[in-house]
Symmetry: C2
Subunit: 212 residues, 2 copies
């Protein structure tokens, strides 16, 4: 029998996922430099030998973990959920944007998502190949998706003529980003402090006044 292209069978894929799950927990908790392969093997309940059968080095494993986390990113999907939305009046626009803002903040403030941001920011200069992937997959896709929504809605006459899509996107995401950064990434332990109730609504109200 001649195996042409080494298909990775279901068993091998299960082990690989097991390794990835353990590595994800350790890398997101400790960062690249402080994470040890011993800790990863223990966390994944896999022998160190097996780990090195599936990945040639700690660097490769790290890149694969962050690559997968980036690609299956829920943050992007949140902003892409505006693609099918077409508010008919100002009140609908306000409500749609409010729901989106809540979705964004909720997603960004999850401990796992904050840990991904933290680890990416911390080690991106050591793995430049992640920079392009992350930027193209998360912020750029999200921003341009939202910018498209703005321009589409503007063409339907519900937003001021002189509002630029990119500026409007930064104006919308920015205030929400302050929560993730100032109250998420800059907080040491425990859960991040969620925004005060009503704050998001207030911000969306100001935003709608700015663009209409």
């Amino acid at each position: 029998m001649v195996t042409v292209s080494e298909e990775p069978g279901p068993r091998a894929r299960a082990k690989r996922d097991q390794i990835l799950a353990g590595a994800r927990r350790v890398f997101l908790r400790d960062g690249f430099a402080a994470a040890s392969t011993d800790a990863i093997a223990a966390e994944a309940k896999v022998s160190k030998r097996t780990l090195y059968v599936y990945y040639p080095s700690k660097e490769d494993l790290f890149v694969d973990v962050l690559r997968k986390l980036t690609i299956e990113n829920p943050q992007t999907r949140a902003l892409e959920s505006m693609e099918g939305i077409s508010p008919e009046n100002r009140e609908e626009l306000r409500r749609d944007l409010f729901e989106l803002a809540q979705k964004i903040v909720t997603t960004m403030m999850q401990p796992d998502y904050l840990a991904l941001l933290r680890t990416t920011i911390a080690d991106i200069h050591r793995f430049p190949q992640l920079s392009g992937l992350f930027r193209a997959t998360v912020p750029e896709r999200a921003m341009s998706s939202f910018a498209l929504f703005i321009e589409r809605t503007r063409e339907r006459g519900m937003i001021r003529e002189d509002v630029d899509g990119e500026a409007a996107a930064r104006m919308f995401v920015g205030p929400l980003l302050t929560y993730a950064v100032l109250d998420g990434l800059f907080v040491a332990g425990g859960p991040p402090r969620k925004p005060a109730p009503g704050r998001i609504e207030e911000i969306v109200d100001m935003y709608v006044k700015a663009i209409t």
Copy 2:
């Protein structure tokens, strides 16, 4: 002769500054875990023995470096520069905010400042004592300083009655923060991409429309 309280003397302080300067460069470049005391001693042009005379451990040195960088932070001063500003009309308000926005973006996009943000975010969970210091010194002071400016200006009748100070501060800083995060911290090497000319002005225009 009895020395009561170990004055540090000018020579000792010079050596300490020399050590701090070298440690700052290495820590901001490599982060805590990947920075080696050998590299720090070499960068500071100081023997390792001397380094350990002034600091008992790598942790203590790291905390002192970040503590000093945080305290003498230029970002806070930028926002505090609004304390003496009292615009007389909407056009003056617009121009004052535009100057402030430019100052903030310019300061935040400096490589050294981005490195401070990066290192703080990366290692804050290992040095919780830095969290409170950093938050209180940089974002909270800056935000409340700006919030005070907004409320003061609102009382002088130039801003809508229902605009809250904190929400207005997040609304102003947020869009500028997107540049520091998306185009600064998420970029691998080289200088960060500066915002397109006119973008800041556009954002400030939208902001003024939102709060007046």
